[in-house]
């Protein structure tokens, strides 16, 4: 059941996830009329709206419409993001995010993360929640996954120290798994849809930016159903429904890009999620060496990094 509508306020609204948005050559904001229709559509369908801002200040007319309805703002850090609900940062330049002290999404490439992961500590201390998103998952090699294994373990040690020091940092890669007891993935295509400035609906902005022809509907439709919608649900994902890396984004856009099916993750996506899962487990043990901590949470040791390798047991 759909609960959220993401509305892109420009044809090049900032990316807040794995996909790349086109670079801003010229401003192509959504028309006021289309935004009005989108808001009415969301209200009729009982969808909570998330506005995604471009890398410039929107017009007063659009701003007025945005504030005509309850909503959630996703804003890049390079504009005035004081009213943001989530601030998006590209790369390890997060002074603005530290200053704003808001939940922050950090979009980063693997090499930068491997080299500078320890610089996350001040960000973790300053903001309530850090959501790290790799923008080059599809380019991770076997060697990169080895490096990631080391780096995520080292980062887990840093986070464990913060917990022992009475801080309560939250970072999706390591702490989300601790508080979950079932899959909690991105709901693109299952619980959320994206409306582009053309009035069409997409499973997520990534599909729109890949090709505007990838739409699954438009805001003129009365029934909120999308073609083969079941494929976006966990029940229709043979690998994921057997998985306990519950924090995994299970990105359907990456799935489509790497395996051609929205319900099938790539090997790289699975291994990364499991390295994070395992690092979370070790971090939990490290924290517990200093006293009781989340006694209800257990992360068992497993002998695989990709559930696909265990498919003969399903």
């Amino acid at each position: 059941m759909f609960e959220y509508l993401v509305i892109l306020l420009d044809e090049a609204s900032a990316s807040f996830c794995h996909y790349e948005a086109p670079s801003l050559q010229e401003r192509k904001p959504i028309s006021a009329d289309m935004l009005k229709q989108g808001i009415r559509f969301a209200m009729r369908q009982n969808l909570a709206i998330q506005f995604v801002y471009p890398h410039y200040e929107i017009s007063d007319e659009l701003d007025e419409l945005v504030h005509s309805v309850d909503h959630f703002k996703i804003m890049p850090a390079d504009i005035d993001a004081t009213k943001a609900d989530v601030v998006v940062v590209d790369g390890f330049n997060f002074d603005a995010a530290i200053r704003l002290q808001k939940p922050t999404t950090l979009r980063v490439k693997k090499d930068e993360f491997f080299a500078r992961y320890h610089e996350l500590v001040p960000l973790l201390e300053a903001v309530p929640n850090v959501n790290v998103v790799f923008t080059d998952v599809q380019h991770f090699t076997a060697a990169d996954l080895q490096t990631y294994s080391t780096v995520i373990s080292l980062l887990a040690e840093e986070v464990a120290k913060m917990y022992v020091g009475d801080l309560c940092p939250r970072i999706n890669l390591l702490t989300d798994r601790l508080s979950l007891n079932e899959m909690n993935n991105c709901g693109a295509g299952a619980t959320s849809l994206t409306m582009a400035p053309n009035g069409n609906l997409y499973a997520c902005p990534g599909f729109y930016y890949d090709d505007p022809e990838n739409c699954v509907g438009n805001i003129n439709q009365r029934e909120l159903e999308i073609p083969n919608g079941y494929l976006y649900t966990l029940a229709s994902a043979p690998i994921c429904r057997h998985c306990d890396a519950w924090h995994c984004k299970r990105c359907v856009w990456l799935n489509r890009k790497t395996t051609l099916e929205v319900n099938t993750p790539s090997h790289e996506q699975c291994v990364m999620a499991h390295l994070e899962r395992n690092a979370s487990g070790k971090m939990l043990m490290q924290i517990r060496e200093h006293g009781s901590f989340m006694p209800e949470c257990e992360i068992e040791e497993i002998d695989y990094l990709d559930p696909f390798d265990k498919r003969h047991l399903w």
């Binding site: 083969n228 494929l231 229709s236 043979p238 690998i239 395996t259 099916e261 090997h267 790289e268 696909f308």
Partner: protein
């Protein structure tokens, strides 16, 4: 059950790796039901491309852990490229031996041919050279009128029956257990009974027959189909043809409910197989090559230069019945034996996915199940009455 002939087991069925070379997209025929929409005379596989594919496959045994292999050659008509095939098979044998590959002791070369140039000198020389490792099936659809209804020459439109049937005795002499494959489309339904009986009379004791998976069926086809199958059942049983012959329409395990928790396997082997085209592209099955697809892009999973992209195989290797089947299939009381083709599913799907099962054959399957029930009930009654089989305690019809 000694009196009822069983299907001949396909060589290491399901255990051997199937590797298919699309050696040509050309064929002498233009069969009306052919799913190959992009046949042409230009795309012929070169020896260099075929050799590179063999080198990749034999050079990466960890990617192909199967104990045995079936090297399959299809087209178009594969025997139009007999020179390439002969040279390639020699190369495969030499390389398997040189590499001390486990497949050297467990391999087959397999062909499905239209049979037209089966008796040519080149084909016969190839058969003689490789006979102990060969599986060859000739496709003949039945009587002349049934065969020539669909299997016609390109250009002239003339039927090909006479040119095929003259090669059947030679083929059966060389492969006494040879079976044939018959495909049924909507216009063929009235000829099913006579065709199967005709094939039996030619000495072909195993007739593997199926309805096309494409959505070609018209209202009332299922009733006609059921009627034909029941007439066929009567003829087979009354004539005691079941002792020497098998028609795959009738199977004892057909038409039972399936427990999804125990029987969740995918029907189709796409992804476990590998197909290679003239360009050196790899496919999960030939049905995903461009020349087989009406409305979707081909699914290319790699090529001879870069190898297989394992990520593109993951959806195929995790496909199961539950995920791709609509609710009506999961709760179907006669689900067992209801087949599907992954390529047709993909081609017919409303989005580009292999996870949407086409149900175009639903009514035809149900008709087949009813006729199949009739067949086995009648056959068992006959065998019991003849004293060849102990009566079932619950056999009310026999009053036993």
């Amino acid at each position: 059950m000694a009196e009822i002939k069983d299907n001949t087991q396909v060589w290491l069925d399901g255990e051997a790796k199937s590797i298919t070379f699309i050696v040509t997209k050309d064929c002498q025929l233009a069969c009306k039901y052919c799913y190959l929409v992009g046949k042409n005379s230009k795309e012929r596989m070169s020896f260099e491309v075929a050799k590179a594919a063999v080198d990749y496959i034999l050079g990466n045994p960890e990617l192909f852990p199967d104990q045995s292999v079936v090297w399959d050659f299809i087209g178009g008509e594969p025997f139009m490229e007999i020179n390439l095939i002969d040279r390639l098979c020699d190369y495969i044998k030499t390389e398997m031996y040189r590499l001390n590959h486990r497949w050297f002791n467990s391999y087959r070369f397999s062909f499905s041919t239209n049979g037209i140039n089966y008796d040519s000198e080149r084909v016969q020389r190839f058969i003689e050279k490789n006979h102990t490792h060969l599986s060859i099936g000739i496709t003949i659809d039945g009587t002349r009128r049934k065969h020539d209804l669909n299997r016609i020459y390109k250009g002239s439109g003339l039927g090909s029956y006479d040119d095929v049937v003259r090669n059947i005795p030679l083929w059966l002499k060389q492969f006494p257990n040879g079976g044939t494959k018959v495909t049924i489309s909507s216009p063929d339904i009235p000829y099913i009974k006579e065709s199967v009986l005709h094939l039996f009379s030619l000495g072909i004791h195993e007739v593997n027959i199926n309805v096309v998976f494409e959505d070609v069926w018209k209202e009332g086809d299922d009733e006609l189909f059921e009627d034909q199958l029941m007439q066929l059942a009567d003829a087979i049983i009354d004539g005691e043809l079941y002792k020497e012959n098998v028609c795959s329409f009738f199977r004892e395990d057909l038409g039972k409910p399936l427990d999804i928790s125990l029987e969740n396997n995918n029907w189709c082997g796409a992804g476990k197989m590998l197909s290679i085209d003239a360009e050196g592209n790899f496919y999960p099955c030939t049905r995903f090559a461009a020349y087989s697809l009406r409305s979707k892009k081909p699914i290319i999973i790699g090529n001879i230069h870069d190898g297989i992209n394992q990520n593109l195989l993951r959806p195929f290797l995790t496909l199961d019945r539950l995920t791709q089947s609509p609710t009506k299939c999961l709760s179907c009381e006669v689900a067992s034996g209801c087949a599907w083709c992954q390529g047709e599913n993909y081609d017919a799907a409303v989005t580009p996915t292999i996870y949407q099962r086409s149900t175009a054959i639903c009514l035809m399957h149900k008709a087949r199940v009813r006729a199949n029930n009739y067949y086995w009930n009648k056959l068992y009654c006959k065998i019991e009455l003849d004293g060849a089989r102990p009566a079932k305690p619950s056999c009310i019809a026999c009053s036993l």
